[in-house]
């Protein structure tokens, strides 16, 4: 996939682990794991908005676009 999710750095900055982030964002831990491991097929704007809100960042900080 050309777009990858990089949550590790932002999570480390905030000192959050996957379960805590999932809880704060309001999604299940398995869903957050899917997102972290790059197995998710799509992300809702509401989820992205919440992640950015919790991690205090912008979408471009966590979504990386690379050309195939």
């Amino acid at each position: 996939m050309a777009i990858t999710v990089k949550l590790d750095d932002m999570m480390a900055k905030k000192g959050l682990n996957c379960n805590e982030l999932a809880q704060l964002v309001g999604v299940s831990a398995p869903s957050m794991s899917l997102l972290k491991t790059g197995r998710a097929r799509a992300i809702r704007f509401t989820t992205l908005n919440k992640i950015c809100e919790v991690l205090e960042c912008t979408p471009e900080d966590i979504l990386i676009y690379t050309k195939d």
Partner: protein, 158 residues
């Protein structure tokens, strides 16, 4: 809904079992009675009986696949690729039955058309019935695959 699926499963099973018993017990007598009416076609008793018994295996297999589909639906796996594959398998079996009955139709047309045209058209009706099963199952397979894809997309959307 689950109650109706369970009922359908049992009904299919009972129907298949009774058809099997009836075909084993009464089919030879029925064919013999036909041979009694048309003695010149007595030589066709055995081929006809074996043909019907052989082609009925396909129908029993279809019933088995239907029961599997019902089980999938009961366990919440109705909209999956595996269910779509079961529908595809039914379509393949129906296609085999169509070919068998069309061959039977041609052979019967040559041998017994003059004696009993209604019996010949019975082959055609069964082939047509199988064609309907084939068509419905192919459509169901296509739809289920699409639904399974959409469901998977939805499950992998965070």
């Amino acid at each position: 809904m689950s109650k109706y699926i369970r009922l359908f499963k049992w009904f299919s099973l009972i129907l298949a079992a009774s058809t099997m018993v009836l075909s084993v017990l009464f089919l030879p007598y029925f064919l013999e009675s036909l041979a009694w009416r048309f003695p010149e076609y007595e030589f066709l008793i055995d081929p006809a009986m074996y043909f019907i018994w052989a082609t009925s295996i396909g129908f029993y297999y279809i019933v088995l696949l239907l029961i599997n589909i019902c089980s999938n639906a009961q366990s919440g796996k109705g909209f999956t690729i595996s269910t779509a594959k079961l529908f595809d398998r039914i379509a393949v079996v129906a296609l085999v039955e169509i070919v068998a009955y069309m061959i039977g139709f041609v052979i019967a047309s040559i041998w017994i058309m003059k004696a009993n045209p209604y019996l010949v058209f019975l082959f055609f009706i069964v082939a047509f019935f199988c064609f309907m099963i084939f068509g419905v199952c192919k459509v169901m397979k296509h739809l289920l695959r699409r639904v399974a894809d959409i469901k998977e997309d939805n499950e992998y959307t965070i």
